[in-house]
Amino acid sequence: MKPFHYVRADSVAGAVEAYAARPGARYLAGGTNLMDLMKLGVETPAALIDVSRLPLDTVQELPDGGLRAGATVRNSDLAAHPLVRDRFPVLSQALLAGASGQLRNVATTGGNLLQRTRCTYFQDTSAPCDKRRPGSGCAARAGVHRDHAVLGASERCIATHPSDMAVALAALDAEVELHGPEGGRTVPAAEFHRLPGEHPERDTVIRPGELITAVTVPGATAGRPSAYRKARDRASYAFALASVAAVIDLDADRTVRAVGLAFGGLAHRPWRARLAETALLGQRLTEEAVARAVDAELALAQPLAQNAFKVPLARNLAVHTLSGLAAARSPQRT
């Protein structure tokens, strides 16, 4: 780890200014992934702009029944917040399926979105990796890639995004609020992360110097039946092999009025299953209909030798979760 300067920001504008003034700066919030990467030599910031004490640490109810979670709200606090638990259980469940109690107490909303892939080759500075060192190649394709992407990968990168929370946010039509040198803007959570394409070094659409200030979840999805299901190699404290976040709105006769479906662990970003959603809209939510819709989505998969299991796994999780939501009586039960 290289020596670095430390600046504690006292306002969003001040943070953005401080960042711009120091080439090679990084924002520091909880730091649980940043410190990890700095120790690995993957991140070598010249300065850390500490944004953890900015007044972005509250969860507010929005007039439409949605919520706005500040960027520095800790993952554990967001998961436990009454608004989240009562109106968006999928978000609480996704947060609680990630990491450990200790990490969730420190990791923030913004940091969770910005965490980097756990691809072993990305984490190893001696390995070729187009995400870490553009132009060096991808070691994962010929190497160990059991945990890697089956959807939306490119020749340059088959990494997955590790967040659970982001998968729920994608399914909930959430938005990410950004503030940067050119002012503020909002990006849909499902489009915040990128596919790797020719530029795997860019995980997200964030622009240099931009700071995440909040995540908003619209009232439209509040109270809808929703659930998060994650499969992993051990019962807790492990990244997803595959996961699914589902939010549905059904008629009395189980006709789908609205559905949000997103996969985790399958792609370079939370994979919003638009094809499956389209196929389900206006359909009665039967297991067969769900299976057909999910199969249409997963027909896009291009698995490799070691990770082909993710396709049937994701299918099972999605079919089971959606069917379970349809069968559940209480909108808050899964």
């Binding site: 730091g31 649980t32 436990a80 009454p82 609680l96 450990s100 200790q102 404290y237 209480s330 039960r333």
Partner: protein
């Protein structure tokens, strides 16, 4: 330690309260809370098992909440109140969970133990505050108050603390003892 660079661009003056005692030091910005405790303050109770937040052996309480000390830059914790395992029994009288660990033989090599203990103390507070876990009934609402720590709840909530000796069943029993 001799290494603290003179206060400069890459070092900072930091004041922290550790187990009730205030410390002011000039620290390399790279220094983590874990290395501050172990190498600067001689408090070696918090352990370094992985240094990457993957084992929980370094768990301490920061302003009452459990955290992996290995991932916290000390400079960013300026003003914080830390409690380490050494602070759980400040007057020599063991914390109930420490006593329960002895009674249940809830450790073997002892290296993960300080982290398990601090984590358990954090779990008690989180459950009392009604915080849910991955295994809490999702239908349970925030208004329903403290979460009862069943064995399944204890196991899930303690899963950030690895124990390679395999003392888990006894750790769970010890924590359960304290909740009764």
């Amino acid at each position: 330690m001799s290494a603290a660079a003179p206060e400069s661009g890459t070092a900072s003056r930091v004041t922290l309260t550790v187990n009730g005692a205030e410390h002011t030091l000039v620290l390399d910005n790279r220094t983590t809370v874990l290395d501050l405790l172990r190498e600067h303050l001689g408090l070696t109770g918090a352990k370094k098992g992985c240094d990457h937040g993957q084992c929980g052996a370094c768990t301490v309480l920061v302003d009452g909440r459990r955290a992996n000390a290995c991932l916290l830059p000390a400079v960013a914790q300026d003003g914080a109140e830390l409690t380490t395992v050494e602070g759980l029994a400040p007057d020599g009288e063991l914390h109930p969970v420490q006593q329960a660990f002895l009674d249940r033989d809830a450790f073997q090599c002892g290296y993960c133990t300080p982290g398990q203990l601090c984590s358990a103390v954090g779990v008690f507070a989180e459950a009392a505050a009604g915080h849910p876990s991955h295994v809490t009934d999702p239908g349970r609402t925030a208004a329903q108050g403290p979460v009862e720590l069943s064995r399944a709840e204890i196991r899930e909530r303690m899963s950030g603390n690895l124990c390679r000796c395999g003392a888990y069943p006894h750790i769970v029993a010890a924590i359960e003892d304290v909740t009764r």
